[in-house]
Symmetry: C2
Subunit: 206 residues, 2 copies
């Protein structure tokens, strides 16, 4: 059983319990090998309750994705005491650099499988469009704050956020699908980008 992530710390009622079971089943089996039965195996309450609420594993997973994003939107993980550039460093450390716990790595791998369902399933497509819009605007807000505080140059926040989001998506995808881990090099180079493109004290000399 893996550690419960922050968005599942206080699950409410039946839905919360189903979401927690889904998280653990996804970490253990991934998407391809997941079945409703395997989610039910992680579920403490009556199994029939699970079958009563959902028709398929995709129904549960789509509800899970929505639940997770709702939680993120409600509790934006920005620590108010951080400076904006160290906050951005933390985000990139967590999402681009490879040093994540095993459970989290398994979860990120399952997320890459879920995103690929969007190629042929409009419900997943709608979710990941919302997901990407949310995280791009979060990053743009951070950059905008940095500009207002004089820490960052006057770049286009939305455009710079697009590159950061794409680097995060690419890094997560590559880590989940290859053994060769280039994420440390990617982290170094995006740091160089942040320093010379975003930071107002940055220079093109290293």
């Amino acid at each position: 059983m893996v550690k419960t992530p922050p968005f599942l710390e206080e699950p409410d009622g039946t839905r919360g319990a189903i979401m927690t079971a889904t998280y653990h089943a996804l970490c253990e089996h991934g998407y391809a090998n997941l079945t409703i039965q395997r989610i039910a195996d992680q579920f403490d309450k009556s199994k029939s309750l699970l079958y009563h609420h959902y028709d398929s594993k995709d129904d549960i997973l789509l509800d899970f994705l929505e639940f997770m994003l709702d939680e993120f939107e409600e509790h934006v993980p920005r620590d108010g005491t951080d400076t904006i550039d160290s906050h951005l460093d933390d985000v990139l450390d967590e999402l681009v650099a490879g040093a994540v716990p095993v459970e989290r790595h398994e979860f990120m791998k399952a997320m890459v499988e879920l995103r690929a369902q969007a190629v042929h399933d409009d419900r997943y497509r709608d979710h990941f469009a919302r997901h990407d819009r949310f995280f791009q605007s979060q990053l743009a807000d951070d950059i905008r704050t940095g500009i207002e505080e004089g820490v960052f140059r006057d770049v286009d926040p939305h455009q710079a956020a697009a590159l950061l989001l794409t680097t995060i998506t690419g890094s997560i995808t590559q880590r989940a699908t290859t053994e060769t881990d280039i994420s440390a090099a990617v982290r170094e180079e995006i740091e160089a980008y942040v320093n010379i493109r975003l930071k107002s004290s940055g220079s093109t000399d290293e």
Copy 2:
């Protein structure tokens, strides 16, 4: 029937014909909805020949991925008359910017589905590790050439290539899995990165 891409222009013998049929079937059906029968439907020769050579759709697809990468490795698509920075621009235009023909977009979507198989299938994992190593070293070679020619600064070619590859992977993944197309913004921002980080004539002023 979609246009044949360069790597399939002169397919040799039975394998070449199977590879061409696989390409067209992938563009038409994607991975999730692909069957051996649907590949056979695109195949002019005897269907039994196809079943004789391969046991499953994944066997065919893994052979297809290997065939495609072999062709790329043999005929590196670098036009010798280009300058190195305009060559890099072309690569980023093609792989990051969104203006691709419909058939090619369908093919890239299928590639995102194939890459996601690497999460649970080691054979796909081995392929995409080889795929990423090849394209990262191609990009690093380009950057190294630029440094030697004095067009690019003396950056770490392998590290800069890691960021470019990750941006390409992220952009392809996002375009295949959401309707919201942020690839034009990503293309603009990676251009800013190339200008101020790589180009020796670049400056931090836009």
